[in-house]
């Protein structure tokens, strides 16, 4: 187990290096620079700026410098603010959104999936399963505006945009409900399908019959015996789901006008703000790689079959 974890951690290093190299060279080999769009900037000033940000050095020197002190580098677009500062300020918002969304997704998804699996091809299967299918076919950027239209504009129950109230620092505010719900429901749909499939596989196994035979209550059989194995597909889905949540947050933050990191990332790419782009990509890549590691470890811990193989 220890060797397995160590090997996986060592493996992440070349992966992250590749991500950094791909991002950096994609940025730098594309035509156009960060100061090209400013019409007011004269040629000398631009040269000065390029010098200040080391853009005149050879590419490999720049790449090395970027790698070594990425968090301390200044953003091109927001001078005097370092990449680390911006991430530190904006990420908590995106994290909260993602956290609420994943909680909603797991809560609704697992519940619906388990219910659907109890009596396959019956009434209580069809309703959650069709809801899940609708959820999968309604992407966040359709669902978001529709929910906003119904609950904010027509029923006037919830605020349409914003995050954390007027100041933006409330721990919980009603304006967080719609964005989290929009992002969460899409994944709830996937998770409920995965849960249903996983549970159906498990519920026909012998050990479930044994558990029932020895007199365990129906609820105990499901929660204690079946769900442990039935939720394995959900756990392996969590890795890609996190990557998807991050991408989804780009859209959600745009729709609901939330000051998170995702919105900044898309804008920084348009601005050719190389330092910020590379910083955010590396930050997200590290996050995703680490969470995938956690998912892998969880999988091995929960699935006895995998343990024997390794």
């Amino acid at each position: 187990m220890f060797v397995f974890i160590l090997r996986r951690i060592l493996e992440t290093i070349p992966v992250l290096l590749c991500v950094a190299a791909m991002t950096f060279f994609m940025c730098r080999l594309a035509p156009g620079g960060p100061f090209d769009d400013d019409k007011q900037v004269t040629a000398e000033v631009r040269e000065q700026l390029n010098k200040q940000f080391n853009l005149d050095k050879p590419l490999y020197v720049q790449f090395y410098q970027y790698l070594v002190n990425l968090p301390k580098l200044q953003s091109f677009k927001y001078p005097n603010r370092t990449v680390g500062d911006i991430i530190k300020q904006k990420f908590p918002v995106s994290f909260k959104l993602g956290f609420f969304a994943i909680t909603i997704a797991l809560g609704i998804g697992v519940l619906f999936g388990v219910i659907a699996s109890l009596k396959p091809n019956s009434f209580i299967d069809y309703i959650p399963s069709s809801l899940a299918m609708i959820g999968i076919c309604l992407p966040t950027f359709v669902m978001g505006p529709i929910l906003m239209y119904i609950f904010a504009l027509k029923l006037k129950l919830l605020p349409a945009t914003g995050w954390g109230g007027f100041d933006g620092d409330a721990i919980f505010h009603t304006d967080m409900i719609l964005p989290s719900l929009t992002l969460g429901l899409f994944y709830a749909a996937y998770i409920s399908r995965l849960t249903r499939g996983g549970m159906l596989d498990i519920l026909t196994q012998d050990y479930i019959r044994t558990a029932k035979a020895k007199g365990a209550s129906g609820l105990r059989v499901i929660v204690k015996h079946a769900m442990r194995g039935g939720l394995l597909p959900v756990i392996s889905f969590m890795g890609p789901a996190v990557a998807g949540l991050i991408a989804g947050s780009f859209v959600i933050e745009t729709i609901f006008n939330i000051p998170g990191l995702g919105k900044d990332f898309v804008q920084s790419a348009f601005n050719r703000d190389y330092t910020l782009v590379l910083g955010v990509v590396m930050f997200y890549a590290t996050l995703i790689v680490l969470l995938n590691l956690v998912v892998d470890i969880l999988q091995v811990t929960l699935n006895p079959k995998l343990k024997f193989n390794s």
């Binding site: 493996e11 992966v15 991500v19 791909m22 991002t23 994609m26 940025c27 594309a30 035509p31 156009g32 396959p120 299918m133 609708i134 999968i136 076919c137 309604l138 992407p139 950027f141 359709v142 978001g144 505006p145 529709i146 906003m148 239209y149 504009l153 499939g197 159906l200 890795g239 890609p240 990557a243 998807g244 991050i246 991408a247 780009f250 859209v251 745009t254 729709i255 990332f265 898309v266 790419a269 348009f270 782009v277 990509v281 997200y284 890549a285 995703i288 790689v289 995938n292």
Partner: protein, 322 residues
């Protein structure tokens, strides 16, 4: 010496009949699946509407503006209303469907080609090559790919112009910048969506490799390329067809996602993602601008998913009876 010959003949016939009955049986099973049939019909209607429909419309059906008829509610001459620039929403949806379906199809073919090629090579050679190639796929799976697609779409946007300049400097009239954004979409999306296909194909090929007829090919000394393309590829067709039907909606979703962020198809050419974006920006004043493209898009995804699920159940009877 006649005995092996007479034995070989009926067995060859069996093979042919069995192969046929799989497809016929699959069709029978598919016909019983109501949702898949409804989905399939809807896809055919959609393809007809967006690719044949324009022949009955005026040339500028999706760009023509009536400036005094901005955001007119549905009804009368404009069945689905007009948009914020006074363009017929129905025409926009038809053209948008054409673009979305085309991106869905072409990008799927790109990802299919990469996935099948990669998976076949990995599965065929096996051993260390396979282990390395699949580890690469695992690692790629864990990368934030949407982020790369976004970056690629932003940074390579002006590359088309640069290519034109390069050709012009060499005295050529070759121009690519007009189609550059579409090309970029095909490549960027295709480059992301091939991973699952590679895994599926590799699994199939791996199990095929152990079967007698492939061993026979190898012992006959057929060239590797011939074994792969003539004998293995046709046999992995079933799962590939199923997964292709499921990749198309995934690709369309990614295209719409990019267009929604302003990175996909460039106006005035519409795609459903772009129409949804325009609608979402103006849903207060003109909710129909959001609702109709949204419904069309959701129905299209719905149909492809149902057809894909139906095909999977039909082509793989073992998994169908859950």
């Amino acid at each position: 010496m006649t005995e092996p010959d007479s034995q070989a003949k009926p067995s060859a016939l069996d093979q042919v009949e069995k192969g046929e009955s799989l497809w016929v049986g699959a069709w029978h099973r598919l016909r019983k699946n109501k949702m898949a049939l409804v989905g399939g019909t809807f896809i055919l209607l959609l393809v007809g509407l967006s690719f044949i429909g324009p022949f009955f419309l005026e040339d500028n059906y999706y760009t023509h503006q009536e400036l005094d008829l901005k955001m007119k509610a549905p009804g009368g001459e404009y069945i689905l209303g007009t948009d914020h620039l006074g363009r017929d929403q129905l025409g926009r949806i038809i053209k948008g469907g054409q673009i979305s379906l085309m991106v869905g199809l072409v990008a799927t073919i790109v990802s299919l080609t990469i996935g099948i090629g990669y998976g076949t090579i990995s599965g065929y050679f096996g051993g260390n090559i396979d282990r390395f190639m699949m580890r690469v796929v695992d690692i790629l799976y864990s990368l934030p790919f949407t982020i790369f697609v976004i970056l690629l779409m932003v940074f390579a946007k002006d590359l088309g112009d640069s290519i034109d300049v390069w050709f012009k400097a060499r005295g050529s009239d070759f121009s690519i910048s007009g189609q550059w954004n579409m090309l970029l979409l095909f490549v960027a999306i295709g480059a992301v969506e091939w991973l699952t296909m590679a895994r599926i194909v590799r699994g199939q090929v791996l199990s095929l490799r152990k079967q007698e007829f492939i061993e026979a090919c190898i012992s006959l000394g057929l060239p590797t390329r011939r074994i792969i393309f003539r004998h293995m590829v046709p046999n992995v067709l079933g799962p590939v067809i199923v997964y292709t039907t499921l990749t198309i909606p995934a690709v369309m979703l990614l295209e719409a996602f990019l267009s929604f962020l302003g990175l996909g198809v460039q106006p005035p050419t519409p795609s459903w993602g772009l129409l949804i974006k325009d609608g979402a920006d103006r849903m207060r004043e003109a909710p129909w601008m959001l609702i109709y493209p949204g419904i069309m898009f959701a129905l299209a995804l719905f149909s492809f998913n149902f057809v894909g699920d139906g095909l999977r159940d039909a082509l793989d009877p073992k998994t169908s009876k859950d």
